[in-house]
């Protein structure tokens, strides 16, 4: 009898608790909806604009009068956009590959060998990380002109890699430090050379940090604009940001076409982000909190 009463009382309390929480929840959903609205509205406006023809004068927030897909068709037919996406992919992938190879090689001795000279090298890498790329624009650009790197994809790849290396070397060094030294020493006793130890013992363990660096610097290479605009001047070398710039500055009255180009430009990255979002967020957090 008593047990039943208690059970009922508990159920009543629970129901009350949930009712209370539900009552307290409506403001959360309202706030969440407001945040979502503020964040999706510009993308919604862009999408609607891309589906309107030039003669469609409906307001920015409304649906098109007629759903119009020619903006996309003409961009695809034109082909410059697809070429730009391909160029960006080539630059992005080469940047990431070269940077990862150089950074994890550099990180291994810096993590394992604490000589005074290596301390100096570490300081150089840390110090260089503080130099914002655009502040030394004149120095870098005149150097690239001297090297004949203008209008070559390798010019922007090397620039990207050089500015990304300090950060990724730093991340790799910290990561390798967390791998027990005993593993290296065991392989030394087994008679492995430096390279063998690096490739067989260290490299296989670097997967998580390789993913972090690949995401961070892949995204920034894909989005790079400030240096690309001067290095890749030939139209057939244009990357995605340069192509978008051209769409928006030369066709100020073709809003639909420009909007469709912007949608196509952000689409690849947004899709990859939506699929791998946890990895994206994690890599950002890992790189920021040292």
């Amino acid at each position: 009898m008593k047990a039943r009463e208690e059970k009922e009382k508990k159920a009543r309390e629970e129901a009350h608790y949930y009712a209370g929480q539900k009552k307290g929840l409506w403001w959360k959903y309202l706030l969440a909806a407001l945040i979502i609205f503020i964040y999706l509205m510009p993308l919604y406006v862009l999408l609607m604009q891309s589906l309107k023809s030039d003669t469609d004068i409906s307001s920015a927030m409304s649906f098109p009068e007629v759903w119009y897909f020619d903006n996309y068709l003409s961009i695809i037919e034109d082909g410059t956009m697809l070429r730009a996406i391909l160029n960006s992919a080539v630059v992005g992938v080469s940047t990431v590959l070269l940077e990862i190879v150089l950074a994890c090689m550099a990180a291994y001795p810096l993590a394992r060998n604490d000589s005074r000279f290596n301390g100096l090298v570490r300081t150089i890498f840390l110090g260089v990380m503080m130099i914002p790329p655009l502040t030394i624009l004149v120095g870098v650009y005149t150097l690239l002109v001297g090297l004949g790197a203008i209008n070559h994809r390798w010019g922007i790849v090397l620039t990207n890699v050089a500015f990304g290396l300090p950060m990724s070397t730093f991340l790799f060094t910290n990561f390798i430090r967390s791998i027990p030294r005993d593993l290296d020493e065991a392989s030394v006793i087994d008679g492995a050379s430096v390279m063998q130890t690096f490739f067989r013992v260290i490299l296989p363990q670097l997967k998580p940090i390789v993913a972090t660096v690949a995401i961070l610097h892949g995204v920034s290479a894909w989005n790079e604009y400030a240096y690309s605009i001067y290095i890749l001047q030939k139209p057939e070398m244009q990357t995605i940001t340069l192509c978008i710039k051209k769409y928006f500055s030369s066709v100020r009255n073709d809003y639909g076409g420009a909007a469709a180009a912007a949608i196509l430009a952000i689409l690849p990255l947004v899709v990859v982000y939506l699929v791998l979002q946890d990895a994206f967020v994690q890599s950002q957090v890992d790189s920021a909190i040292k």
Partner: protein, 288 residues
């Protein structure tokens, strides 16, 4: 063993060479160029000493760009961190669908600042979305980017809006690292939610705040892409930032020496700010 260590050191040579050649050497080259009167390509260079730096003092557009850079840097850092922390605290209350909000708020961080500026152009242009939304509430809109004062506020807002998600995920990670026990203990002692925020959450978040603030501050102080796409520095340099001004002086005005001088000043200023900030936060960190 020593020989092995020396062999090992060879492995950082490629990376070190890259950094020395493409970053450190250009830095010295920029510093040297800042002492020249040079258009950037002709073989004739004239050594003028500190003249470029003295010119900076009287250049109205440099002063404007510098002040704008301060606004972009400190203004967006403030907004991003306050909003990012608010969002993180809000999402930390774990309602159904909080992950969707995180996904959406973080999405703009992935998008290039240049393209984001162009996207925002559809919002702030004359017949854009912002004016329309305002008209729903009977408020008259305006040509937002036509006015320099409003333009630089819009750029600050767009930049804060875009990178707010960055702060949010940093703070979400920071909040997860704080043990629930502190809050329970504080609740037993009768702490209100404000006092436990002030005396538990905030002090323990200092490492997260310090990284978010420094990353944002450096990012804001070198703001470039979004300035190009939203206003192209105009009207009449009213929204120009230092990065924009370096590009403008170098490639438009063909004053490589002067552009280098702006770059050197900007570099020193950012260096100074990040050192001060680092010190400030280092002192406030607590051990638990």
């Amino acid at each position: 063993m020593r020989k092995r260590m020396r062999q090992m050191n060879l492995m950082y040579l490629p990376a070190l060479c890259m950094v020395l050649l493409f970053v450190l050497y250009p830095l010295f080259r920029s510093v040297y160029t800042s002492l020249l009167n040079w258009n950037g390509y002709s073989p004739t260079k004239r050594f003028v000493g500190m003249e470029n730096y003295l010119d900076l003092l009287t250049d109205k557009n440099f002063r404007l760009s510098f002040l704008n850079t301060l606004l972009y840097g400190f203004g967006s850092t403030f907004l991003q961190n306050v909003l990012g922390l608010a969002f993180a605290l809000f999402l930390n209350t774990r309602f159904k669908g909080h992950k969707v909000v995180r996904t959406i708020v973080y999405m703009p961080v992935m998008i290039s600042g240049l393209i984001m500026g162009y996207i925002m152009y559809f919002v702030v242009r004359n017949h854009g979305a912002l004016n329309e939304i305002l008209s729903w509430f009977g408020i008259a809109g305006m040509d937002w980017m036509g006015n320099g004062t409003v333009g630089r506020l819009i750029i600050t807002l767009v930049n804060s809006w875009q990178f707010c998600g960055f702060c949010m995920v940093i703070y979400m990670a920071g909040l997860q690292g704080i043990s629930q026990q502190y809050y329970e203990a504080a609740a037993i002692d009768g702490a209100t939610s404000f006092t436990s925020f002030r005396y538990i959450t905030l002090p323990l978040l200092i490492p997260a705040i310090s990284s978010a603030v420094i990353v944002n501050l450096i990012g804001g102080l070198k703001l470039y892409d979004v300035v190009v796409s939203l206003s192209d520095g105009g009207p009449n340099y009213a929204t120009s930032s230092l990065s924009y001004y370096i590009n403008n002086r170098y490639f438009e005005a063909e004053r490589a020496g002067y552009a280098s001088a702006v770059g050197v000043v900007m570099f020193l200023f950012i260096m100074f700010c990040s050192i001060i900030m680092n010190r400030y936060f280092r002192r406030r960190e607590v051990e638990m």
